[in-house]
Structure formats: structure tokens, C-alpha cells
């Protein structure tokens, strides 16, 4: 069973169910209709492609990053900065910090950010429809607690995963560089020893002159 396609199908189903919970959300898709956006999260390099139409979002998880001209906009973003791209005011800052690279039509990303921020789901209303009033409130209170714990865990995990991946990548890619680095450190240490000896010598000479 192709797992990548299964994951994409589940993700697509989930996103569209959320989007269609309130028919008013569909108008948010209008500015994006006919456009496509590729999101590549580094350092893991997992591409996620979104194709927008008037009634739904199609999601694909290709094996490799698609060529620039295959989609309208490609966003390459560091895992640690993923949260921040929702606010388009952060984009310039992130690009300067080398955490974001944008190719193609920036408007697609701006429209998507607008959709995400406007997609303010009224969970209580939705749950009340399905469960009734009291169970809905209990569920929400529980969800709120779980969310706080989840957010804490996610923040920790995100930092750990990002760091681990970056470190892992560095380690795997640069065993050679580490060897060279050790060599450099040894050289620097010799030079420092030499400088230290020279300073000591100069100090001794200076002291002898003062004595004279």
C-alpha cells in the first residue's frame, strides 16, 4: 500500500472536513481558486503540495520537491519558523534570517495566510450540534487542557526535533569536516602554545630589564 498517498488522502479528507464544517468558509477559497502552493519544510525536506479549487483543497505529498514551474508558489521554510509564516509581516525578517525562501507568486502565500487566520473555527458551536450542550462543554474544557499540554510538548518536541535533525544532518554529512576541524584545532593549539611561550619569554626579558 503506498503510504505516502494514504497519508495525503487522510490529510486531504481532514482538511476539507474542517473547511466544510461551516459553509461560510468556502468563500475563503475564492482568492486561491486555481492556484497551487508547495511547502517544503527543512531540514527534513518533506514537500507538501496544496491545489486550491472553489470547493476543496487537494493535497499531495510528492517524494521529491517539485520543480519551481510545476506550481504557482514554492515556500521553503525551516521547521522552527513554520508557525511564523502565518503572519505575513514576518516574511522579510525570516528571509533575511535564512529561514525562508520564496519562489513564484507571493500572493498565493498571502492568500493562504489570510485563509488560515480567518478560519477561526467555532468549535463549541460545531460540537453542540453533534453532541448537545453539556457534553460539548466538558469536551471543550478537556480539549483546552490537552491543548495547553500539547502545545508545551509540541514546542519542546519541535525544538528537539529541529536541533536533532540539523545535528544529525551535520554529523552524517561532515565526518570529513570534523576530522579537518580537529586537525585545525590541533594546529591552533600549537600556535597558542607557541604564542604563550613567546609571551612568557618577553615577560621574563621585561622583568630582567626592570631589575637592571
Amino acid at each position: 500500500m503506498p503510504l505516502r498517498q494514504l497519508a495525503a488522502a487522510l490529510l486531504e479528507q481532514g482538511s476539507n472536513t474542517l473547511l466544510k464544517l461551516d459553509p461560510e468558509h468556502l468563500h475563503l477559497l475564492k482568492p486561491l481558486t486555481g492556484q497551487s502552493l508547495q511547502l517544503v519544510i527543512t531540514p527534513i525536506q518533506w514537500p507538501l503540495v496544496l491545489y486550491f479549487s472553489a470547493t476543496q483543497i487537494d493535497i499531495s505529498l510528492p517524494e521529491q520537491q517539485l520543480a519551481e514551474d510545476a506550481v504557482d508558489c514554492t515556500v521553503v521554510v525551516a521547521l522552527s519558523a513554520l508557525d511564523q509564516i502565518r503572519d505575513t509581516n514576518n516574511l522579510t525578517k525570516l528571509i533575511k534570517a535564512d529561514k525562508l525562501d520564496l519562489q513564484g507568486d507571493l500572493k498565493v502565500l498571502q492568500n493562504l495566510s489570510a485563509l488560515l487566520s480567518e478560519l477561526d473555527l467555532d468549535l463549541e458551536k460545531i460540537l453542540t450540534t453533534y453532541l448537545g450542550h453539556t457534553p460539548a462543554q466538558y469536551t471543550l474544557a478537556f480539549a483546552e487542557k490537552a491543548k495547553t499540554m500539547g502545545e508545551y510538548w509540541f514546542d519542546q518536541a519541535q525544538v528537539t526535533v529541529a536541533e536533532a535533525l540539523v545535528e544529525e544532518k551535520k554529523l552524517v554529512a561532515s565526518a570529513m569536516r570534523i576530522a579537518l576541524y580537529c586537525e585545525d584545532v590541533t594546529q591552533v593549539r600549537y600556535q597558542l602554545d607557541r604564542v604563550e611561550a613567546r609571551i612568557a619569554l618577553l615577560e621574563r626579558q621585561a622583568a630582567q630589564q626592570v631589575e637592571k
Binding site: P2, A9, Y51, S60
Partner: protein
């Protein structure tokens, strides 16, 4: 039973005769017999697909679409496209600057497809063309991608259809054939046979009130060329870099070939 576990790789046409499921019929009659089958199943086709494959056909189709590598602005032909599952996805991928042609020999299937795609709001970039895969009514070098999902086994002269597809592809274009194939393990083959020859026609009767058509579908799968034979057939008409990927233990295979 032996007949059922093997893919027979029977030649398409011999002495004016061809196979229709396990039956031998006059080659000239197969087209209309296949037309009858799909005319009968058209209305219930989508629901039967989900029931018969437990929804897995959607994943096979997604894999085909991902493997096609379509880009915005491209021209795609969804051949034997029936009710348009692949067309719907391609239409969104190629976007307003591209075009998708949904083509099928059967007007009933095409009509169900047209209604479904319109209901999904997909109207802008799709053309509907009634055509026989053996004689495609398109100019040479027109399409970037041609897909044929679960269609080739129903075609009377498969080599002719493959040559016709090769002609309408642009140089650099690719063909993707998604089709039932030969399970790679003996154990799976046995379970699959029991399922297709006993359960499938019963399910066809229950859901679509049509046991015969679903018996034909099961038999036609066994008469279809296996993975290696289809690969050679594609190469014989000119396809290059031809490969195939087995899915679900070879129950289904995706063949891919390029025209350079």
C-alpha cells in the same frame, strides 16, 4: 481453478476471434459487448469501485497521479476515463492554464463523469471526447501525459491502442497504465481468486443487481497480460524507459513509459 490463478497472456486477436472474459467471441463483437457491460454498470460504477476495493482504488489512483508528475499548464488525456476520478485531480493540478481531456468509448460512463465533475465545480479546463482508444481522434504530439486506469484490459486490440497513444503524446510525454495484474505470491493469488470469482459477482448482484457484468470484470482481469508482457508490449510500439510498480502485492500494477 488453475485457469483462474494464472494470467493467461492470450494474444488479443487470433483467427478473427478474441476473448471476452473467459469466452471466445468474434473480434468485431467485443467492442459492443464491453459497451453493454459499462452501460449497465455506469450508474453504480463509483459506489461499486469503493465496495469492491474497500476504497483502495483511490490510493492506487493517487499513486498514478503522483507518478505522472503533472505540472500547471500541461495537457493531459485521461483515456478510458469513465466517471473521471483522475480527471478531477488532474484538472486541479494543471490549473486554469492547462487542459484535461476525459475520453471514453462509452457515452453512459462519460455522461456520469460529466455530471460528477460539474457538480464538483470543475468546468473550466475539461473537454469530453467519446473515442475508441484504438483510433484516437487527436492530432500527433498533443498531450504531455496520457493515463489509462483500468481501461486497457477492455480494449480489443491493445497493441493498436498503445500505438495510438504513442502517436498523440508529445516527445518527452509519458503514458501511465494502471491495471489489474498478476499477484506476486501464490497465497495472495488464491485469496484473490476466491474473492473475484465468488464474492465479487455476488456483491455485483447485491449492489448493482448485475452479476454477469461483474463476472466479466473478474474474468477480464485474468485474461489481461501480466506485468512483463505489458511492459514488452509498450516497448514494441516505441515506449522507452518503461517501468512498472506493483501495488497491493501485484494485484494492481502501474506501468510507465516515455516517448522521446
Amino acid at each position: 481453478m488453475e485457469k483462474q490463478t494464472q494470467t493467461l497472456n492470450a494474444p488479443d486477436i487470433e483467427n478473427g476471434k478474441t476473448h471476452f472474459g473467459f469466452k471466445q467471441v468474434d473480434a468485431q463483437d467485443k467492442e459492443s459487448m464491453v459497451a453493454d457491460v459499462f452501460h449497465n454498470v455506469a450508474a453504480k460504477y463509483d459506489i461499486m469501485n469503493d465496495v469492491m476495493s474497500l476504497g483502495i482504488h483511490r490510493i492506487w489512483k493517487r499513486f498514478t497521479i503522483d507518478s505522472a508528475g503533472a505540472r500547471k499548464g500541461q495537457q493531459v488525456l485521461d483515456l478510458a476515463g469513465g466517471t473521471g476520478d483522475l480527471t478531477a485531480k488532474f484538472s486541479r493540478i494543471v490549473g486554469p492554464t492547462g487542459r484535461v481531456t476525459l475520453s471514453d468509448i462509452n457515452p453512459s460512463m462519460l455522461e456520469v463523469g460529466k455530471d460528477k465533475l460539474r457538480d464538483m465545480g470543475l468546468v473550466q479546463n475539461i473537454d469530453y471526447v467519446e473515442a475508441n482508444a484504438e483510433e484516437l481522434p487527436f492530432p500527433d504530439n498533443q498531450f504531455d501525459i496520457v493515463t489509462m486506469a483500468f481501461g486497457l484490459r477492455n480494449v480489443t486490440n491493445k497493441s493498436k491502442a498503445l500505438a495510438s497513444i504513442y502517436r498523440v503524446l508529445k516527445p518527452g510525454g509519458r503514458l501511465l497504465v494502471l491495471e489489474f495484474s498478476k499477484p506476486t505470491s501464490e497465497g495472495l493469488s488464491k485469496i484473490y481468486d476466491a474473492y473475484s470469482f465468488h464474492l465479487l459477482p455476488k456483491m455485483g448482484k447485491l449492489v448493482a443487481n448485475d452479476e454477469e457484468s461483474y463476472r466479466y470484470l473478474a474474468e477480464s482481469i485474468r485474461m489481461h497480460p501480466d506485468q512483463e508482457t505489458l511492459k514488452s508490449m509498450m516497448e514494441d510500439v516505441g515506449f522507452e524507459n518503461t517501468t512498472y510498480t506493483n501495488m497491493t502485492g501485484g494485484i494492481v500494477a502501474l506501468h510507465k513509459g516515455y516517448k522521446f
